[in-house]
Symmetry: none
Subunit: 222 residues, 2 copies
């Protein structure tokens, strides 16, 4: 389950990212409104957490541009100004829910789950690439219909790569997403992880792009 977070406050953004990742989401974060808009316009997300008080392009403007371009993913709006008017404005612009700051991360998680469920995030939570299937709701990976027992880190790796299928993901990015505080210097933890996953999946799902990163090929010609 991939979620986009657009929030300029470093602290809040980090908090949200940590909480979402702890809940098993794959998180893209963005501080700038422009970059955020671009990502939401071009990538596919299960949901978006959108701050209204952004420098540059305003949150509401972003939302309106998405909606008028036909992007229908559920959007949860954050704002410091908790006025009723603003809430109405947000809903009118096409927001699915609204959360005034300050908020508890737990509430953010609950509301996010709610809007994802409401917009049918259930049905579209299975990604199939070749013989490998990823069920995000059950957090389960199967090859030829047989469930594979993956450790948390292994699952995160596979889901991240499969969700970003068709794109070369740099090792650096993977390492950051796996966020294990431990690796500092020249660690080959990612490589070890990839090896473990490959053995368990016994398939050619993950390709190596020497010098660049890893790639799960596009699943669109099936």
């Amino acid at each position: 389950m991939r979620v986009l977070v657009i929030e300029d406050d470093d602290r809040i953004r980090a908090d949200i990212q940590a909480a979402l990742e702890a809940s098993g989401y794959v998180v893209d974060v963005e501080a700038s409104g422009e970059e955020g808009w671009f990502l939401g316009d071009t990538e596919t997300y299960a949901a978006v957490v959108l701050d209204l008080g952004l420098p540059g392009m305003d949150g509401l403007a972003i939302l309106k541009r998405w909606r008028s371009a036909g992007r229908a993913m559920p959007v949860l709006i954050l704002t410091a100004r908790g006025t009723w008017n603003e809430r109405v404005e947000g809903i009118d612009a096409g927001a699915d829910d609204y959360l005034p700051k300050p908020f508890h991360v737990e509430e953010l998680l609950a509301r996010l789950r709610a809007i994802i469920r409401r917009t049918g995030g259930n049905s579209s939570s299975v990604i199939t690439i070749g013989e490998t299937e990823l069920d995000e709701r059950q957090m389960r990976v199967s090859v030829r219909g047989v469930p594979v027992n993956l450790s948390p880190q292994e699952y995160r790796l596979v889901s991240y790569l499969m969700i970003h299928n068709g794109r070369v993901v740099p090792q650096q990015e993977l390492a950051e997403h796996l966020q294990s505080v431990h690796f500092e210097r020249e660690s080959n933890a990612v490589e070890v992880l990839v090896a473990r996953v490959r053995r368990k999946l016994s398939s050619v799902l993950i390709e190596t792009r020497r010098g660049f990163g890893y790639l799960v090929p596009d699943g669109k010609n099936e």
Copy 2:
């Protein structure tokens, strides 16, 4: 049987809550319209008691949003203004019954029983997964037809997992739902609870997703 009460008057709310709990319902109370809407939208209730004269989001607006989002639980409307017009409006918005203030708690109980009975015959109150059966109306869990004696906490755990079957539920979320507030990561209460439930059910209903949470697999019938 879980019931949601949305009413801003403290006195009335407390009265209703006391009466309902005395009748064996599990009651969530909420004074704010927004929070109430959110709960009704995200949680599962056997019925809702909804006051119309709420500050913030109006009762009718709440009801309409639920209905247009497909939430079908029976709703009993309360109002101080006992006009015929308003009654029609409420019914149009999707209310199942209407009770003008002031009222006797006995009448509230009777009408609540009535609308629950009326809409409760539907199949959605029984969930079967494998050999395990959850009857939400009777708040009873059976394995191979044999009723299992569960404590309140145990029942909440099982019902929550079964209602959310097919989805990995994080320990954190479970702990919150069991709403014993003093949960930190320093407690393994959830694990203990799961262990007890497993022993009582003597079945493999609840799977562990190490590092993520617990999962009751899909029952293929939803």
